[in-house]
């Protein structure tokens, strides 16, 4: 057997955990930007834009993230586009997260009560003004709990970046296990670290859901 768990292993795991957080942040920002565009496209007055964005969502939601990951890491070099593990993982997660966040946020925008849209129109606001000044500020409040909840999914899904050799938490566990041969112990520790990252977000999401968004919390505090 290859020795016992020591401080170096924990430093390595910590580094992996930091990369998991970093990759999650990249996926959230990238997926958030693309997802926001998708959400706006899904409610566009232009039918072609609506159909294209709906098609994107259907395609991505019908494909496993793992296959998207393999497609970008092994598929792109095969057709002459070299790509690093970090770039492949970031691109795959962005594409994947955008489809889900886009759909969540579309629901939130559409759940802003109808009279708000009509009132904004009655005040002769342009479409852009209506979106930016009336609808989105209210939609953001509705969107906060499910978005925080989805961040848990993002963190968990970054574990799939390990299959393209990107050294995040799950991969650093595999590497340590290759020298220790204590798979159950190592993966238990990995699971605990993931839990420590995800559980606070799950709790926060549920708390926000009960209190109806961050704005409401501030009001209650005041």
């Amino acid at each position: 057997m290859g020795g016992s768990l020591n401080a170096n292993h924990f430093m390595f795991l910590l580094q992996g955990a930091l990369w998991t957080v970093g990759l999650s942040a990249i996926a959230l920002v990238g997926g958030g930007i693309v997802g926001f565009i998708i959400a706006l496209c899904r409610i566009s007055p232009n039918a072609i834009v609506r159909i294209m964005s709906a098609g994107y969502v259907q395609l991505i939601q019908g494909t496993p993230l793992l296959v998207i990951m393999f497609l970008s890491y092994f598929g792109l070099p095969a057709i002459g586009i070299p790509i690093s593990p970090l770039a492949a993982a970031s691109a795959s997660l962005t594409i994947y997260v955008a489809a889900y966040l886009g759909e969540i946020w579309r629901g939130c925008i559409e759940s802003v009560p109808r009279p708000q849209w009509e009132a904004a129109e009655g005040l002769a606001l342009s479409r852009t003004q209506r979106m930016a000044k009336v609808i989105l500020p209210q939609a953001i409040r509705i969107a906060t709990p499910p978005t925080v909840g989805f961040m848990v999914q993002i963190i968990k899904n970054t574990s799939l970046a390990s299959v393209v050799g990107f050294v995040e938490l799950a991969r650093s566990g595999q590497i340590i296990n290759n020298s220790l041969f204590e798979p159950f112990l190592v993966y238990s520790i990995i699971a605990v670290v993931y839990f420590a990252l995800c559980y606070p977000l799950s709790r926060l999401s549920r708390r926000l859901e009960r209190h109806g968004g961050p704005g409401r919390l501030e009001l209650e505090a005041a």
Binding site: F70, L71, K156, L160, I190, F195, Y199
Partner: protein, 227 residues
């Protein structure tokens, strides 16, 4: 960048892809059926009068929902091995997926239970229905009917997530793809084809669940409301 796609070598191996797709569907169906059973038991457990059972079900749900499937699969795989138990990759994959989806199903079905108005149960008691009758007709069936769309999307997500079991060499669709791409050096075409197959599989599952919904919830059909 010279883009010359050649699906010929890939499509030649269609029997392998078919086998992989069938295995993926088998994994998904097995985990769906067992996961639904665990979900119902777990949801009943979370509403139990015994605080220990409530706590155990709560810990199960939170532990599974806050850790990645990949890590769960490794834990089941190596956990069983360290206990000296030898199972096939398929059995381990099915077990890990069942444990995983069971937790999500528990949470979804519990939400269904919570949505049953107290008055319904009181009315049923007033009509002198037995405890079993109340549980079956007034609580369980209407609860599942309410959360049926959420539950079935979770099962479709499970089918997609079963791709992760390729990492413990279960011979499902993604594992077949990995083999074919290393054999043909046509990675891009292989994974495009597999993505299309997964989309087809998820459409098949959605159609299946829709038909199943028509069969088990006749009230919906009569009321002509969408599921």
């Amino acid at each position: 960048m010279n883009l010359n796609l050649d699906f010929g070598a890939i499509l030649e191996r269609w029997p392998m892809f078919l086998d992989g797709a069938i295995l993926t569907l088998q994994l998904a169906s097995l985990a769906t059926i067992l996961g639904a059973v665990i979900g119902i038991l777990g949801a009943i457990g979370r509403r139990s009068r015994n605080p220990v059972i409530v706590r155990i079900c709560g810990i199960y749900v939170e532990a599974i929902r806050n850790t990645p499937l990949l890590v769960q699969i490794f834990l089941v795989y190596f956990g069983l091995a360290s206990l000296g138990l030898k199972f096939s990759a398929f059995a381990v994959a099915a077990l890990a997926l069942t444990i995983n989806v069971g937790a999500y199903a528990t949470e979804i079905i519990r939400a269904g239970f919570d949505s049953i108005p107290r008055g319904q149960i009181e009315a049923a008691e007033g009509l002198a229905l037995s405890r079993t009758q109340i549980y079956w007709h007034i609580v369980l069936l209407p609860a599942i009917e309410k959360v049926y769309p959420a539950l079935t999307s979770q099962f479709v997500l499970l089918m997609l997530a079963s791709s992760v079991t390729s990492q413990i060499s279960a011979e499902e669709l993604t594992a077949v793809a990995n083999f074919v791409q290393s054999d043909t050096y046509r990675a891009f075409e292989t994974y495009i084809l597999v993505a299309v197959l997964y989309i087809l599989l998820s459409l098949i599952m959605r159609l299946g669940f829709w038909l199943l919904g028509l069969a088990i919830f006749p009230r919906r059909r009569r009321l002509r409301t969408a599921l």
